[in-house]
């Protein structure tokens, strides 16, 4: 049973072209280790250096967004006082295109703003994304966002097509938010 269960789980991921999926508590150490693995694996697969950098960049922004904004936090605090956040991150390749998927819980009250922001990004073409990125870089960070808007624009800029996102309401307080970018 044990082997069968995990074999099916792994097989399902393999069939989707997943290089790896990480689910659970995310830390900066995890970000560094997985990021390094992404670069090494893509190098072995003979991906060109520009694509490796783009995938790496989308990966870093996705994971740092989970670390900073996931509403799912481990109880208690680390020694340095920071909270530990949870989420899921997946990197893979489908029909020759690399993809990065990130998922985490968000508070329902933050949903309208996040959705507006993502829909706006989806509506912009490459030049408009560049102009928007430059505008946001010059602005002071929005008080509650810790710079997330720039991270999302960076993801949209490195993506090969429009970013994909989806929401699933979990309960009265939380929604699961998912963001996917092909590179």
């Amino acid at each position: 049973m044990l082997a069968d269960k995990y074999y099916q789980f792994k097989k399902s991921l393999d069939e989707q072209g997943v290089m790896f999926t990480y689910s659970g508590v995310v830390s900066e150490t995890i970000l560094f280790g997985l990021g390094d693995t992404v670069k090494q694996k893509m190098h072995v697969d003979e991906a060109d250096s520009t694509t490796i950098k783009r995938v790496f960049s989308v990966f870093v922004e996705q994971v740092q967004n989970i670390i900073r904004y996931s509403a799912e936090k481990a109880s208690g605090e680390r020694k340095d006082g920071r909270e530990m956040c949870s989420g899921v991150i997946s990197v893979g390749r489908n029909q020759g295109q690399f993809f990065v998927v990130g998922g985490n819980l968000v508070h329902n009250r933050d949903l309208p703003r996040l959705r507006n922001r993502l829909e706006h990004l989806r509506s912009l073409d490459k030049d408009e994304l560049k102009a928007y990125y430059k505008q946001k870089l010059r602005e002071d960070s929005e008080e509650t966002s810790k710079g997330a808007s720039i991270g999302l624009i960076e993801i949209a800029r490195r993506a090969a097509g429009p970013i994909m996102f989806d929401f699933k309401v979990v309960n009265d307080n939380y929604t699961f938010f998912c963001l996917k970018a092909f590179v």
Binding site: T50, K53, K134, L137, G151
Partner: protein
């Protein structure tokens, strides 16, 4: 303080600020755990240098392999700080290096250069490692 130095790590750049020669360099990777903690002292020492009351010139050498969006924000603040200080009395030059095959870093350099007027901002191709200082 004659020199401000931070050794590079796998995710933070090497920083050398030579006050005497007016040469400031940032080289390597930049996606620190906490940009404010990492770049706070760098920005402070630069502000201190610029607030000195003698005529001076400053050259900023930037050669980054990768930087995340939080670091991009810091770089923009850095350029705006230099832009405000540049003028008749202060000659400020930025040399932004990118590896020949790295179009992302070339584009970033070009984009930053579009946003400044008073800084002499050069986007330069480099092949291989920088020459020893």
């Amino acid at each position: 303080m004659d020199c401000f130095t931070r050794h590079g790590t796998e995710r933070t750049p090497e920083i050398v600020f030579d006050f005497g020669r007016g040469i400031f360099s940032i080289r390597g990777e930049s996606y620190p755990e906490d940009v404010a903690t990492f770049y706070g002292p760098v920005m402070s020492s630069l502000k201190e240098f610029l607030s000195g009351n003698r005529t001076r010139s400053l050259t900023l050498e930037i050669e980054l392999i990768y930087f995340n969006s939080s670091s991009a924000k810091v770089l923009m603040n850095l350029f705006l700080l230099l832009e405000n200080a540049a003028g008749a009395e202060n000659q400020i030059t930025v040399n932004w290096y990118y590896q020949g095959d790295d179009e992302t870093m070339r584009e970033f350099g070009e984009e930053f250069s579009e946003d400044v007027r008073h800084i002499n901002f050069h986007v330069l191709e480099r092949n291989g490692a920088p020459p020893p200082q």
